[in-house]
C-alpha cells in the first residue's frame, strides 16, 4: 500500500498544515491516500471513470470539511467515509443501488488446472471480483472495508453509522453469499 510508508504522525502534521490552507500539504495527503480511496470506490461503482471522478470529489469534499477533522478519527477512515457517502449519493441519484439477485451468471472457471499457480490465482481473483459485483451494496461495502481496507468491526460500524453487531452479521452474510457463488461457478467447495 502506498500509504504504508508514511505513518499517522506524518498525516497529522500534514493535516494541520492543510487545515491552515496549505494546498501543498493537502496534495501530499492526496498522494498518500488516493489509491486507497480509488480502489474502494472502483469496487463499489465498477467504473474507472466514475471512480476517478468520485475520488477527486471525495478529496475536494475532504478539503472543505478539513476544519472539522479531529485527531480522534483516523484520517484514512475519515476519507473512506467521505468517499463512501459520495459514492452512495451518486449511485442513488442514478438509481443504481438496485441489487442483483445472487443466482446469476458468473463467469465459469476453467475446469482444467492452470499451468502455473499464478494463473490459478488470477482466475480465482477474477471470479471473486465478479462475485463481488453481484453483492448488494451494503454487503459489498462491508466486505471491502474488512477484507481490503482491513478496518476493525468498530471502525466499520463508526464509518457506516451502524452497530457492531450489524457489521458482524452483514459481513457473515456477505461472505456466505460469496462462498455460495464461488462454489456454484467452480462446482467444488471453495477451498485452495
Amino acid at each position: 500500500m502506498d500509504e504504508a510508508a508514511e505513518g499517522p504522525a506524518d498525516d497529522t502534521e500534514r493535516i494541520v498544515r492543510a487545515q491552515r490552507g496549505d494546498t501543498a500539504a493537502f496534495a501530499a495527503l492526496v498522494r498518500l491516500h488516493q489509491q486507497r480511496v480509488y480502489r474502494f470506490v472502483l469496487r463499489l461503482t465498477d467504473s474507472h471513470e466514475e471512480a476517478l471522478e468520485l475520488t477527486q470529489d471525495s478529496f475536494l469534499k475532504a478539503w472543505q470539511a478539513l476544519p472539522d477533522w479531529r485527531p480522534q478519527a483516523r484520517f484514512s477512515t475519515w476519507l473512506l467515509q467521505i468517499a463512501r457517502n459520495a459514492t452512495l449519493d451518486t449511485l442513488r441519484r442514478r438509481q443504481r443501488v438496485a441489487f442483483t439477485p445472487l443466482d446469476d451468471d458468473l463467469p465459469l472457471a476453467d475446469p482444467a488446472p492452470g499451468p502455473a499457480e499464478s494463473l490459478a490465482a488470477r482466475q480465482r481473483g477474477a471470479l471473486l471480483e465478479a462475485a463481488l459485483r453481484r453483492l448488494p451494496f451494503e454487503q459489498r461495502e462491508v466486505v471491502l472495508l474488512r477484507e481490503i481496507e482491513a478496518l476493525s468491526y468498530a471502525e466499520i460500524a463508526a464509518l457506516l453509522g451502524v452497530a457492531e453487531g450489524t457489521v458482524k452479521s452483514r459481513l457473515a452474510r456477505a461472505r456466505s453469499a460469496l462462498v455460495a457463488m464461488l462454489r456454484r461457478t467452480t462446482g467444488d467447495p471453495h477451498e485452495q
Binding site: A24, A28, V30, Y38, Q56, L128, K168, L178, A180, E191
Partner: protein, 164 residues
C-alpha cells in the same frame, strides 16, 4: 445450503476476523474441529479471506494530487475585485444616451418652433392685395363679341367699306 443467517456462520466469520473474545474463540475452534459442516465452512471462509489478499491493486493511473492542488490553488486565488464605478455625472444621468440623445430631441423641437412661427406670421400678417370690385360681365352677352369668344363671324369684324 444457505448458511448466511446461521449464528454459526456469524461466529465463524468473526473468528476469521479475530473479533472473538478468547473464550468464544476457543469454543468455536473446538466445535469446528468436531463438526464436518462447520469445518468445511471454516475452510471455505479462510480460502475466501486468502483470495482477497491476492486481488490486484487497481491504481487511478493519474496524478490526482496534482490535479486537486491546481484546482485548490485556482479557487483560493483572490479574485480581482471589480473597480468601484465612479459616480455618474449629471450629464450622464440626464442624458444616458450621450450627445446624440441630447441633439436629436433638440433639433426636433427647434424645427417645430420655426414652423409654428412661420404659420403664425402668415395668419397675422395684413394682406397687401386690395379687394377688387367684382366685374360685372353679365351684360357682356350683349356686346358684339361674346365674353370669351374669339370673333364674331367675319362680316361683323370687318364691315365692308371701312372701319366701324
Amino acid at each position: 445450503m444457505n448458511n448466511e443467517d446461521c449464528p454459526r456462520t456469524v461466529a465463524l466469520s468473526a473468528l476469521i476476523d479475530d473479533e472473538l473474545a478468547p473464550a468464544p474463540r476457543q469454543a468455536v475452534l473446538e466445535h469446528a474441529a468436531r463438526c464436518p459442516l462447520c469445518g468445511t465452512e471454516l475452510a471455505e471462509l479462510r480460502a475466501l479471506h486468502a483470495d482477497f489478499a491476492t486481488l490486484p491493486e487497481p491504481a487511478p493511473g493519474a496524478d490526482l494530487a496534482g490535479l486537486i492542488e491546481t484546482r485548490l490553488r485556482v479557487e483560493a486565488r483572490p479574485r480581482p475585485s471589480p473597480r468601484p464605478s465612479p459616480r455618474p455625472r449629471l450629464r450622464d444621468r440626464l442624458f444616458p444616451l450621450g450627445l446624440r440623445g441630447l441633439l436629436m430631441p433638440a433639433a426636433g423641437a427647434a424645427a417645430a418652433l420655426v414652423l409654428g412661427l412661420q404659420l403664425g406670421n402668415l395668419l397675422l400678417m395684413p394682406s397687401t392685395d386690395e379687394a377688387r370690385p367684382p366685374r360685372f360681365v353679365a351684360m357682356a352677352v350683349f356686346e358684339p363679341i361674346a365674353p370669351g369668344g374669339l370673333c364674331p363671324p367675319a362680316g361683323a369684324c370687318f364691315q365692308p367699306g371701312g372701319a366701324r
